[in-house]
Symmetry: C2
Subunit: 193 residues, 2 copies
DNA sequence: CCCATTGTGTATCAATCGGTATATAAGACT
DNA sequence: AGTCTTATATACCGATTGATACACAATGGG
């Protein structure tokens, strides 16, 4: 019951995501958001809570956006294929011209004023969760002898995410697809065996 | 002539640098700055121009801060020593508890509102300048046969700065010194020869 | 039809943003 | 001393920040 919502929440969320992705959490104002989403301020607050809650919903939306290539990489048949899937998948992701430059999870809220602490902690948490999932995958890879006995899953996972962050920063700085692929190719030379 | 300045410009600039370093350009307000620098708003504007000019002067100050280990690395006797100097130098830099977390040149102004475009372009420019210097160093390294003939100086330089950016993001996320060093060690495994 | 419920639009809130006008204070120079 | 120049301090500017009060519109249930 009640008056039906006149806008598409998912479409509005996508608009918000692209804006946060481009300008970051604090660089995006409510006026920016309502303009892009095509709704009024009260509608935004009624539908999404407030700016912070909207950003959290956007993070979920972003996770759905990126889960395809990340989940695909984690399901790769062996450790090297997983590493390649992650790194070259990130290259393709950052080379897709339909996407804003860089990675929302990296520069969406990396630093900022004290008011945005909760937002920074959330993105930081999600970044470390990705590292954790990669670490777990590499641990089981070692038991399956997909990795040399001396290889350190945590160290390799740390390196992988560091390269992903580096690719994201370079992409946000306007790196071309070929630049990203070159970085990826050199990085893969570090992979054991 | 005229009334003498009552504060130490260099000390005030250092305070400003540490604040921008921690909160980023747009995350740092003028009130934050004047509070930390211990001066009033008109004094700040008389001495440094405006927020944007102050940030540019802070970037110069930051370059002086980081030039030690970077210049040292670029002057290393061979290409591998340069790479190690850069990567492990960055680890040490980010592990120094006297420094704010992360890298001002990376997260000081990576994204933001349209008003800060000039600031983002400047940090982006300085980042690419570093890559250029590394590339030049690697080109002369190849002529001196410090690198295999097949090695690509531009690709290696791109990889190096990507790892530096990755280390910066991880450091900004609270990575411990040992985490950074592990990333560095794996990265160096990608180095040719 | 009438009412309860919920979304929308206007107009506005206090707080903060970067930036200054104005007056005064403190030194150097003649 | 008197004057010129520059720094400091107070108080303020218009604009924008995130967030709402209020009135009204649109639906479903009785």
């Amino acid at each position: 019951m009640g008056r039906p919502r006149e806008f598409d929440m998912e479409a509005a969320l996508t608009k918000a995501m692209r804006l946060f992705w481009r300008k970051g959490y604090e660089g995006t104002s409510l006026s920016d958001l309502t303009d892009a989403m095509g709704i009024t301020r009260p509608s935004l607050y009624a539908a999404f809570g407030n700016k912070e809650e909207l950003f959290f919903k956007v993070l979920d939306r972003y996770d759905r956006e990126t889960s395809a290539f990340i989940q695909g990489a984690l399901n790769a048949p062996n450790a090297r294929a997983m590493a390649e899937g992650l790194i070259f998948g990130a290259c393709a992701f950052h080379s897709d011209k339909r996407n804003p430059a860089g990675c929302l999870m990296v520069h969406g809220a990396l630093v900022g004023s004290d008011e945005s602490l909760a937002v920074r902690r959330e993105t930081s948490l999600r970044r470390s969760e990705l590292k954790g999932r990669i670490t777990q995958r590499l641990k089981q890879a070692r038991t399956k002898h997909e990795l040399p006995q001396g290889a350190d899953p945590a160290a390799l996972a740390g390196f992988l995410v560091a390269v992903l962050r580096g690719l994201a920063v370079e992409a946000a700085s306007g790196a071309r697809p070929v630049d990203l692929k070159r970085i990826a190719a050199v990085a893969m030379a570090a992979w054991p065996e």
